[in-house]
C-alpha cells in the first residue's frame, strides 16, 4: 500500500486531534466529560453506521439491537471476565448477529430492510424480557470500578479504530464494491461483484461497533433493563446525526454528531419533555433543506467558489 503526502498529513493531523481529545478527562469538568462521552459514543455509532449505509443507501435501524446486546454482554459477564474481553466478545456477537441479519435481509430492497432492522431491536428486547421473566429477574446491576474517564477513553479508542477501519475500507476493493452497489446493483453484479457477500461483510462493521459501544457504556448505566438497553430512539438518533452531517464522507457523521449532541443536551436540560420534538424537527430540516447533510452544503459551497473562480479566469 502506498501513502501519498496528503495521506500522511491527514494521518498525523488525525493522531494529533486524537491526542487532544484524550486530554478531556484532565479538564476536571464532570459536565463536559459527560458530554464528551455522549459525543464519542455517537461518533463511533454514526460513523460506523455511515460506513455501510452511506454507500449502499440501506437505512439500518438496528443500532439499538446491537447496542443492547453489547450492554447485556457486560451486564452478564463483568463479574467473571475482564472488561476488555467483554468488549471483544460483544464485538464478535454483534458481528455474527449482523451477518445473520444481513444474509436474511440484505437481498431485500430498501423499505423491507428498514422495517426488518427496526423490528429486530424489538425482537431481541422481547426475547431478553421473556428470558428475565423466566428467571424472575427485572434487570441487571452493573457495578464496576470503571470511571467515566475510563469509559471515555475506551470509546475514544473505538472511534479511532472506526475511523482507521473506515479509511482502510474506503481504499479497498470492498469499499469500491460498495460504492458501485450503491450506484447500481445490476451493474455491480455484472461487473463481477458478489453483491450479497460485500453487503454482509460491511454490515458486520456497524453491528460489531454498536455492540462494543453498548458493552463499554453498560457500567455507566449501573442498572440495565431491556427497555433501556434496546431503546429504539437510539437507532433514530444515530440515523439523524449521520444524515445531518452527511453519510457520503468518512468525517461527515462527526459534523452532525457534535452540534446535534450539544443541541439535544441544551434542549433536554431546559425543556426535558421536548426532546422528541427536536428529533422530529431535525429530521424534517434534513429531508427538506439538507438532503446531503452538512457535507453536501460544504461541497456545494466549494463547487460554487471554484465555478466563480473559473468564470473570472
Amino acid at each position: 500500500m502506498t501513502l501519498t503526502a496528503s495521506d500522511l498529513r491527514n494521518l498525523v493531523l488525525a493522531a494529533l486531534a486524537l491526542a487532544v481529545c484524550a486530554l478531556l478527562p484532565f479538564g476536571g469538568s464532570g459536565y463536559w466529560l459527560g458530554i464528551g462521552v455522549t459525543i464519542v459514543m455517537f461518533t463511533a455509532l454514526a460513523t460506523s453506521w455511515a460506513l455501510f449505509s452511506g454507500p449502499t443507501h440501506y437505512i439500518s435501524l438496528a443500532t439499538a439491537a446491537f447496542f443492547g446486546v453489547g450492554t447485556y454482554v457486560t451486564g452478564l459477564g463483568f463479574e467473571v471476565l475482564p472488561f476488555w474481553s467483554l468488549i471483544g466478545i460483544a464485538g464478535l456477537i454483534g458481528a455474527v448477529l449482523a451477518a445473520l441479519v444481513g444474509f436474511a435481509t440484505l437481498r431485500l430492497s430498501g423499505v423491507y430492510f428498514v422495517i426488518f432492522t427496526l423490528g429486530l431491536a424489538e425482537l431481541v428486547r422481547q426475547v431478553i424480557t421473556w428470558g428475565q421473566n423466566m428467571t424472575g429477574q427485572r434487570g441487571l446491576y452493573v457495578l464496576t470500578d470503571i470511571t467515566e474517564a475510563g469509559i471515555y477513553w475506551w470509546l475514544l479508542g473505538l472511534s479511532a479504530a472506526v475511523y482507521l477501519g473506515g479509511w482502510l475500507i474506503g481504499r479497498s476493493r470492498l469499499g469500491f464494491a460498495l460504492r458501485i452497489i450503491g450506484d447500481d446493483e445490476t451493474v455491480a453484479a455484472h461487473s463481477g461483484i458478489n453483491t450479497a457477500f460485500a453487503k454482509v461483510m460491511l454490515f458486520m462493521v456497524p453491528g460489531a461497533v454498536a455492540a462494543m459501544t453498548g458493552a463499554i457504556l453498560a457500567p455507566r448505566y449501573v442498572y440495565i433493563e431491556p427497555s433501556l438497553a434496546f431503546a429504539p430512539i437510539l437507532s433514530f438518533q444515530v440515523v439523524i446525526m449521520a444524515l445531518l452531517g452527511g453519510a457520503s464522507r468518512l468525517w461527515g457523521p462527526l459534523v452532525g454528531v457534535i452540534p446535534f449532541t450539544l443541541l439535544l443536551e441544551s434542549i433536554s436540560s431546559n425543556f426535558p419533555n421536548q426532546t422528541t420534538l427536536v428529533l422530529g424537527v431535525a429530521f424534517l430540516v434534513i429531508v427538506y433543506f439538507l438532503p446531503r447533510g452538512f457535507v453536501g452544503l460544504l461541497e456545494d459551497a466549494r463547487g460554487g467558489l471554484r465555478k466563480r473562480a473559473g468564470g473570472m479566469a
Partner: protein
C-alpha cells in the same frame, strides 16, 4: 468441416414467465473469434436470451456452457468472472463516479482482476480504445448519448472478457454516430474478440456478423450467414408478415 470446441454452447435454453414462453429450446454455438448476430422482431426473446447467458435471469430448462463448463444456474457475478461481459439495452452507468472510475469498476472485479495503478492504466487504455482518451475525469452526467455507450463498452472490455454480449449497442444513434459505432465494433472484431450482438440495424448485421441466429416468438427460426438468413422466406415473414414473403 467440424468447428473447434465453441466458446459458448447453448442447448435447449428455455425461459418461462408463468405461462409465457419467452425463450423456447434455443440451440446455438458461438465459435472463437466469431461475431454472432442474434436478430429477430421486437419481443422475439433476444434480450431474454442474452439475460440467460449473462446470468441476469435463471433458466427454466436447458444448459449454457462456456468452453465446455456449464455456467447456467450460476449468479451473474460468477459468470462475469468466468469471462462473459455485457452491455445493457438501456445504458447503465454508475452516476456518482467519473468516467474513469466507471471503467475501473470493470477492471477491478471482472474476469482479470486488477487493482490500483494497474486497473487505472487498463481503464485509461480502454477509454483511448473506445475514443474517449483523456476524458476520464468527466462526471458521467455530462456525456453525450454515444459517449455513455462508449463508457459502458469500455467497462465491459476492462475485465478482458472471453465473450462480449452487446445488447442493441447501436440503437438510438444518429447516422454519423452509427458509422462511428459500427467502426468501433468492427475494430473489436478485428482484434479477434468473440461477440454476440443483439441488433436491429441491418447494415451493422451485414457488415459485422459472421453468422446470425434469427428468433421469432422465442424460437430459433433460422441460422446461417447474414446473406442466407436475410433472404430466408420464414425470416422475411417473421419481420414483414405473410404478404411479403
Amino acid at each position: 468441416m467440424r468447428q473447434a470446441s465453441p466458446v459458448l454452447a447453448v442447448r435447449g435454453a428455455t425461459k418461462r414467465f408463468g405461462g409465457l414462453v419467452a425463450v423456447n429450446a434455443m440451440d446455438f454455438d458461438v465459435a472463437e473469434h466469431q461475431v454472432m448476430g442474434l436478430i429477430g422482431p421486437n419481443g422475439s426473446g433476444k434480450s431474454t436470451t442474452l439475460n440467460l447467458i449473462s446470468g441476469a435471469l435463471p433458466l427454466t430448462a436447458g444448459t449454457i456452457s462456456l468452453r465446455g463448463t456449464p455456467i447456467s444456474g450460476l449468479p451473474a457475478q460468477t459468470i462475469t468472472r468466468k469471462g462473459v461481459s455485457r452491455t445493457f439495452q438501456l445504458v447503465r452507468l454508475l452516476p456518482s463516479m467519473t468516467v474513469l472510475d466507471n471503467v475501473v469498476a470493470g477492471a477491478v472485479f471482472g474476469h482479470r482482476r486488477l487493482w490500483g495503478a494497474e486497473a487505472r492504466a487498463q481503464a485509461e487504455t480502454l477509454l483511448e480504445r473506445v475514443g474517449l482518451g483523456g476524458q476520464g475525469h468527466l462526471p458521467v452526467g455530462q456525456l453525450t448519448y454515444i459517449d455513455t455507450k462508449r463508457v459502458e463498452l469500455a467497462r465491459t472490455l476492462a475485465g478482458d472478457p472471453k465473450l462480449l454480449l452487446l445488447d442493441e449497442w447501436l440503437a438510438g444513434l444518429n447516422p454519423t454516430e452509427l458509422q462511428i459505432g459500427i467502426d468501433l465494433i468492427r475494430s473489436l472484431r478485428d482484434e479477434g474478440r468473440t461477440i454476440i450482438l443483439v441488433e436491429h440495424v441491418m447494415d451493422a448485421i451485414r457488415s459485422l456478423c459472421d453468422r446470425c441466429v434469427v428468433m421469432a416468438a422465442g424460437t430459433k427460426i433460422a441460422e446461417g450467414t447474414p446473406a442466407e438468413v436475410l433472404s430466408d422466406a420464414e425470416v422475411i415473414r417473421a419481420y414483414l408478415g405473410d404478404d411479403d414473403a
